[in-house]
Structure formats: C-alpha cells, structure tokens
Amino acid sequence: MRRQGFVQEMKVVNAELCLLLTSILDCLIPSDGRLPGAGGAGIVRYIDALMAGSEDTKQLFLQGLYEIEAASSELSKSDFGSLAQGQQVGILSSVEANHPAFFALLIENTYKGYYSNPEILRILGFAGMLPQPEGYSLHPFESDMLENVKKRGKRYREA
C-alpha cells in the first residue's frame, strides 16, 4: 500500500520504473547496514522531479533506463532487480562506458538526492549540523607559527 501511494505521487516514474530505479540506486550507493542504500532513501522521488522538470532530461533517463533493462534481459532473461549484485555492477559499468552522458547525470543526481536527504545527513553525523545558526568553534590562530616566515624577510617587489 505504502509503495503504491509513493508511486502515485510521482510525475513520470510508474510502478515498473520505480522498481527498476530503486534497484539501480541501491547498486550505485548500497546499504552498509548503518546507512540505507540510495534506493531506500527516497532518491527515486528526487530523480522523478528531475525528469518531470525537463523533457530532454526525461528522454535521456528513459533511454538510459531502457538500456539497463535491455541488458538485463539479454544477460539472464530477468529484470535488473533480480540479478546478482556482480551482474548488476557489470551492467551498470557497461552503461557507464557506453552512455556516459546519461550515467554522469544519474550519478550526479543520485548523489545530490542522497547527500541532501535529512535522514542520511543525520546518520552521517551532520544532522542539526547545518552550518547556521550554530556554526563551529575553532581555536584562535597561533601567530608564533610565523616566526620563520618573518625571518625570511620581504616578499614583494618595490615599484
């Protein structure tokens, strides 16, 4: 039910694409036990918004995703999500080499979605660590570090 509701909020991504994208994202940034994979972190929603924002981007993504799906059925007559991790990595590596524009955009936006996700930032230790309003404390500059620089003398040219 929850997944269906999730998909209904999407603008471009349908249920089938959602499953595919989730598997791809989980392969790009897998879970390590502490951090969720990118597929589980709602990044599909981020990619969906991106595709909805530009027809060119949407076409580039749909083509790239089609290539991944086509390579999966060629390899084992099954969908990408059902492949073993090694097979998934192999397919993505080959798409990375053969469709660099799509893949670079996919990586860029996977990272943008992942590293701006409040839950991920919390687990990484950046929660509540917005730059402001707290800022950070640093020890004052220690000017005795400059003794040798001063001894070495003038470093400008008279004009």
Partner: protein, 541 residues
C-alpha cells in the same frame, strides 16, 4: 516614454561592492545620490546555510552562475566562446552576496607591469596613491588579519585579529614551512571579533551561500545602511536600459524599467556605472546613439575589450587525518605569495597567488568538488566518502591574467533579458602565458601539499566555472585613444559619466579584486567631490 522624475546630482547604476562604497562616500559629503539596482534586497537570515537543502541550493537558486539561477533579476550571458564562465549576483550587495570575502590588496608591482616586466600597461596611479583609500575602506569593512605580512609594504592596523585557520590551515602551513616558502593568514572582510555592530564569524563554512549572521562586510550589510542613513535613495528591482545623452554630448540620465516593468526616465547631472566588468560594457554598448554610434564613450573602441578573469587551477590534497576542513570560512585561510612576482627563467611573466581553501560539505565531497573526482559508486562508496569528508585541502592557484584586445564582452545578436535588452556575449581564451603560469603554480601547490603529508593529490588545470573576477573592459588611462576612462574614472568621451567597478582595471594582478575595486571607487568619489563645482557648476554641491 514613461514618467519624468526630478534631476538628481549623481545617479549610480548598480548597488554592489563599488556602488555601495561610492554612494556612501558621496552621501556622507552631502551629495544627492540615487542608485538603481536591478536586483532585490536579500535577507541574510534567508541564507540557505540555515536550511536543510543548503548544499543543494548552490546548484540551483544560489548558484553563482546567472545562467543556472535564471532569476527574474538576472540577465543571461552567452558564454559559449569563453573558456571561463562569468559569475555574478544581481542584488543589493552584488556578487558580495556569494562572496568568499578574501580581501587582499593589489600589490605595488601590480600597478607597474609595463615598467617592470614589459607587458600590458602601467596604471595611471600607484599603490601609494590608492593607499589612503585602501586604509579608509579597510576601516569601513573591518578587515581581519595580521599586520607584518612580508608580502606587502607596512600597512595600517588590521581591524580584528586573524580568522582561525584550524587544524586544516595549520597542516598546509607546515607544508609551506618545510619548503621555506612565504605564507600568511588571509586578510578577510569577515569579522573575527565583533566590529561596527556586526558579530564575529561563527566559522559556519559556506560564505558562498550568503552570510547568515552579517559578520561578512558585503555592501548590503555595511555600506548601504550607512549610505541610506545619510540620505541616499536606493531603488531596487530597477533595470537600466540605456544611458541617455544630451545635445552637448554629456550624459543626462538613464531610462530604466522600474519594479513594475514600466519604462521610466531619470535625469541626473552625473551618471556612475558600477555594474561589473560584464554589465558595464554591456550598458555602454547598449547606449549607442547618433552622437555615439559605436556605443557610449567608445571612441577608443575599447569598451568591452581587454576582458580579464583570473585563470584558476585547483589542486586538492587528501589527508589521512580528519582535518575538520568544512569548519571556517571557505575561502579565507592562509595564502602564499612566494610565486607572485616575475622570474624570467620560469618562461612566463607575472605570477600567481596560492590561496588555501577549506574543504567541502558532504554533497560537494561526494561529487568530487571542482577537480571532478567524484566518489566512486558501488560497494566502496561509503568507505571512500568517510576517507574524504573533511580531509581535503584545496590550494587555489589564482593567476594574473594579461589584457588582450580579442578577449571581450560584446552584445549578443539574439539573446536578451526578460525586458528585451540585448545580452552580453563573452569571447575569451587563456593565453600561453596564463597556461604556463598556472601549470607552474599547480606544480608548486602539489609540492606544498606533498610536503604537508597529502596521501593523494588531484587537480584541475583550467577551472571553467571560475569567472568570479570581471575586469578590464573599460580600461583606465591618460590617453583617450588607449583607454575608456581617465585617471579619475571619468569617461574620456563623456566627462560626466564615470565608471567605478572592476571594468577600469588596467591589469588584473593575481589577488581577489574587491579590496582594490572599493578603494578605487572611494578614490573616484573623492576626486569627484573635489572637482564637482569646477566641472559641473555650483548646482552640484
């Protein structure tokens, strides 16, 4: 034509760093000054740095590149023929809104490159001529730093102590020390202690997202409140279309689109351009008329020519230890001037500044910053991320650009802003001298990072999205055939039209230019005050 307003003494176009300083200076002396700014006021407390999507915002509405932001106040720029993309902000405070606030002065030799090194031209004024204005501007801005820097002649006292450099700055300082090279904590337009009613910096990091707590002295929080207090009138969201000229060939005002999009006229006795090195030539070229068919004040043909950026190489060193590099103002740490001056055996003239930058937030770390080495996808991703986060030191090799006739801002034949005003088109390529100079600087930065203990080093020899500094397109000089403005900032061809932004730079030096831009604006303002009644009669105070 729209409504006519009253005649003002002085009309300033652009409310950025130079426009703010200039308007304050004249307002304080009792002049009647109006400023038209195409952007809005931005509230410091709305800075993304207090919001959850803070890092992402630097790619969208807080990008430095107007072509990415596409805000109503921005004009698109055709930069297809430029190896560096010009960056700017259109708002009160100008590009100071996104400013790293590294605040070095240009150095004495920067004003005399023809005499010393046989290239480009000397400035018609010297470091000593500008020194009183550097001092005045420093007192207004409140510069944090440390006196005694051997890279400069003795200087007036810095207003607040140096900003902390943290474990991050100390690590690279030890690298410079091992090599016996110059380094010094940066002069910064950021309070390290409370100054002038604004608080000390709390080391949040991304100054580029706007300064939430006003510790950075961008013109919107420093010069403008003071200028307005002295009676200056600042009208925002008003985009100037062209400068108008009377039958006598003098500027007599501007026409502009007001905040409702209505075309209006504003008459003035003196017009002053403070629109940056791209906006100023754009406006002059858009102000052609029967008297000035090739653009206003363009008898020399040099309006828009000699565009200089600072070519930039970026060198990132990765360290084993957690340096907490994301703490502290990103662009202000330490700087080395060891390789700034000309040494002929290096095979190029002039030199570079090695400016240490702090490291990046999680998203920029994952994307590999600007050196393009994103963290790999796949099973090693998380380990690589934690190996890098807070552990990189960036050395920015900021090189001197030399003016070249063919590097220029012109008008695009098709592209316009939302008011239909033609956009600028940039034609720019780095020359061989710049390429050699940056290569040399990168090799030195690698040595320094290596000496500091970096475990790996990556670099970008030609950073395209680095056009922070827009200089040279309305060059200053005494010869009307070889310059656009005279030694007092007045256009040779139109004596009551002044330029006060980075356009008037004769050469670029290899330092961040805002300190020099503001000192020049104050110098032009003082000379205008002195000469006003002789030039424009007693009607102008």
């Amino acid at each position: 034509m729209g409504q006519k307003g009253n005649i003002v003494d002085v009309l300033v176009v652009g409310a950025g760093s130079s426009g703010g300083a200039f308007t304050w200076s004249l307002s304080e002396a009792g002049f009647d000054v109006m400023c038209l700014e195409q952007g809005p006021w931005m509230k410091p407390e709305d800075s993304p740095s207090a919001q959850e999507d803070w890092e992402l915002r630097s790619y969208t509405d807080f990008s430095l590149d107007p072509n990415f932001r596409k805000l109503p106040q921005d004009y698109p720029i055709n930069n297809e023929n430029s190896s560096i993309t010009p960056l700017m902000v259109n708002a009160v405070g100008g590009s100071g809104i996104h400013w790293g606030a590294h605040f070095p002065r240009m150095r004495p030799s920067d004003f005399r490159v023809k005499s010393l090194d046989g290239v480009a031209d000397d400035w018609p004024l010297s470091y000593e001529d500008l020194e009183p204005y550097f001092d005045l501007n420093d007192r207004m801005v409140g510069v944090s730093g440390l006196n005694g820097n051997p890279a400069y002649p003795p200087m007036s006292p810095r207003q607040t102590k140096p900003l902390p450099i943290g474990k991050h700055g100390e690590t690279i300082a030890r690298g410079f020390e091992k090599l016996g090279w110059h380094w010094w904590p940066a002069d910064s337009a950021i309070n390290s202690e409370p100054y002038d009613g604004r608080p000390a910096c709390n080391n949040c990091g991304p100054c580029v997202l706007g300064c939430f707590n006003r510790s950075r002295a961008s013109a919107d929080v420093m010069y403008w409140p003071k200028a307005i207090d002295k009676g200056a009138l600042l009208k925002v969201n008003c985009r100037v279309k062209e400068i108008t000229v009377g039958k006598d060939g003098l500027a007599d005002g501007v026409v502009y689109f007001d905040d409702t999009g209505t075309l209006r006229e504003q008459k003035a006795r003196v017009v002053v351009l403070a629109c940056n090195g791209v906006g100023t030539p754009r406006l002059l070229l858009n102000s052609s008329s029967t008297l000035f068919p090739d653009g206003l004040a363009n008898g020399s043909g040099l309006v828009g020519r000699n565009l200089m950026f600072h070519p930039v190489g970026l060198v990132d060193g990765l360290f084993e230890e957690d340096l907490e590099g994301f703490k502290g103002p990103q662009s202000c740490s330490i700087t080395s001037y060891e390789f700034y001056e000309t040494y002929s055996y290096r095979g190029f003239v002039r030199g570079s500044q090695l400016q240490v930058n702090r490291s990046l937030g999680p998203l920029h770390t994952a994307l590999g910053g600007s050196v393009g080495n994103a963290i790999p996808w796949g099973s090693d991703h998380h380990r690589e991320f934690s190996d890098r986060m807070g552990r990189t030191i960036r050395v920015v090799v900021l090189g001197e650009d030399l003016p070249e006739w063919h590097n220029r801002v012109e008008l695009d034949s098709e592209m316009t802003d939302t008011d239909g005003i033609p956009s600028p088109k940039i034609n720019y390529a780095e020359n061989q001298n710049s390429k050699k100079l940056i290569k040399f600087g990168i090799d030195r930065a690698i040595e320094a990072l290596d000496a500091a203990g970096a475990k790996s080093i990556s670099y970008n020899p030609s950073f395209r999205a680095g056009g922070w500094h827009l200089l040279g397109t309305a060059k200053m000089g005494t010869d009307p055939e070889k310059s656009v403005v005279d030694e007092y900032g007045a256009c040779h061809d139109v004596k009551n039209l002044f330029v006060i932004d980075g356009s008037i730079f004769v050469t670029a030096g290899a330092v961040n230019p805002t300190s020099t831009i503001q000192a020049l604006a104050l110098y032009v303002a003082d000379n205008l005050k002195r000469r006003a009644s002789a030039m424009f009669g007693s009607s102008l105070r």
